[in-house]
Symmetry: C2
Subunit: 282 residues, 2 copies
């Protein structure tokens, strides 16, 4: 497995692969890899000739009071996992290489849907995501890119700018990978103590309870929201950031589930903010 540390190195590698007629699959990550990421790698492995993973904690998508410094970094462990998953090359740049002096271009997705959910809680977050993902796709000459459904709003944002700017890449969304307990895999789960991890099960439990109600015939959005919120409130350690139901992928307000919809929540357990979602389809 190749390790590429600079824009220059990844460009050279990608151009060589394209010249050889290879189809390139890209999996952008911030490292601290778990089963969710590795599932993305395996999907890319099936769908492309060459799989490039990136491991880059992108400063531009973190707010000033967020966990950029604390975000887990464990590049050697990550490399072992990526190699085992059959990844061909890892791109692992320094922030200064991606954003050198004079850098001043940002990709802004300005639709209202970017201000909802995590976009409301994390201003500037999706601008950082859109900018780095555009740059990674271009550097990797990616034909396909793979993202997890756990960051569902991120997928909506990425699909939007890829279409708007006509970026020649296919965006694939891969379902959430969960622990046996139901907890959605996340690099931030490492922040949780044993007690907090137990408490964090309320996220998936609340969504599943609402999903069951939906499957039993309840399609009224306020009723489903109430089920989610009431379930979360049963857990004393949980503080709700948001609990919303929107159309998917447009993220528009709806009062009844018709077509695709997403139930999305962000909940603080202690100091750790966790997100989860389930997509419903009527």
């Amino acid at each position: 497995m190749k390790i590429l540390y600079t824009q220059h190195e990844i460009k050279e590698y990608a151009v060589e692969q394209k010249k050889a007629g290879k189809l390139i699959g890209l999996v952008p990550t911030m490292g601290a890899l778990h089963e969710g990421h590795l599932t993305l790698m395996r999907k890319a492995r099936e769908a492309a000739d060459i799989v490039i993973a990136s491991v880059f904690v992108n400063p531009v998508q973190f707010g000033p009071n967020e966990d950029f410094d604390a975000y887990p970094r464990q590049f050697e462990e990550d490399c072992a996992k990526l190699e085992a998953a059959g990844v061909d090359a890892v791109f692992h740049p320094e922030p200064k290489d991606m954003y050198p002096d004079g850098f001043c271009t940002y990709v802004n997705v300005e639709g209202d849907f970017t201000k909802k959910l995590c976009g409301g809680q994390r201003p500037g977050h999706f601008r950082g995501v859109a900018t780095v993902v555009t740059k990674l796709i271009n550097l990797a000459r990616a034909d396909k890119a793979f993202f997890g459904q756990k960051d569902a709003q991120q997928v909506c944002v990425i699909r939007r700018f890829v279409e708007d700017l006509a970026i020649p890449v296919e965006i694939n969304m891969v379902p959430i990978v969960r622990e046996d307990s139901g907890l959605a895999r996340s690099s931030r789960n490492m922040y949780l103590s044993a007690t907090e991890k137990e408490a964090a099960l309320v996220l998936s439990r609340s969504l599943r309870t609402a999903e069951k109600a939906f499957n039993d015939g309840i399609s009224d959005v306020s009723e489903l929201k109430r089920i989610i919120v009431n379930t979360i409130k049963e857990e004393p350690m949980a503080v709700i950031d948001y609990a919303e139901i929107y159309s998917f992928p447009g993220l528009e307000e709806i009062s009844k589930i018709e077509g695709e919809a997403i139930m999305a929540i962000a909940v603080k357990i202690g100091k750790t903010r966790l997100i989860d979602n389930i997509i419903l389809n009527l």
Copy 2:
């Protein structure tokens, strides 16, 4: 020569050319083509296997009080000129095709240099340029793109975002083409009456007077600026929008010419705003 009217058509055409191993050169224009544009086409013709020109008056780069509606449109004449210049395909979309409902992504170059010169006079202008040029490069799968030096700040902006976002395209700047009188070719010259056209000669005259002074050993920026401004003031019909000298391509304030520098002016002659520039090199 192929005429492509939709994103779908140009994508199909470009993908086919790339599959056949062709090098694609793109020349974005707003139509109303003159010798300046045709020089760009010939440069592209020399440098690429396939030349795609676009003719698109881009609404997003015009301010609310600017000349979007009045901007000259003469697509049939343009096509005849493009065909004669050996262009392979013209992309001529409707605004609704480029910016359909839901479109909300913009490429923002935020550096201070975008607020100078035309950027100061035309807020939002370069955001519109960066967005449409990114989209055109992606749609055309362009390996090379060609722009005129007349819009020198535009070239600085384009080079900036192409580098920042790692867009895999080579940007070429082609020198200004002038009438025998010295007047820089521009689609907006059509707006000028015979008297105004005569008055408009003051733009190139002022720059050339300063250039001569520079060649005679004057490298002090305020002195060169004074020469430009005083020359323009000799023409009663001329109203200066700006007359500036900056480093090139960084567009930074300088007090002395060292290395590359640009003398750039925008002048209103009657209702028509004209721009011109000369790049100096010590």
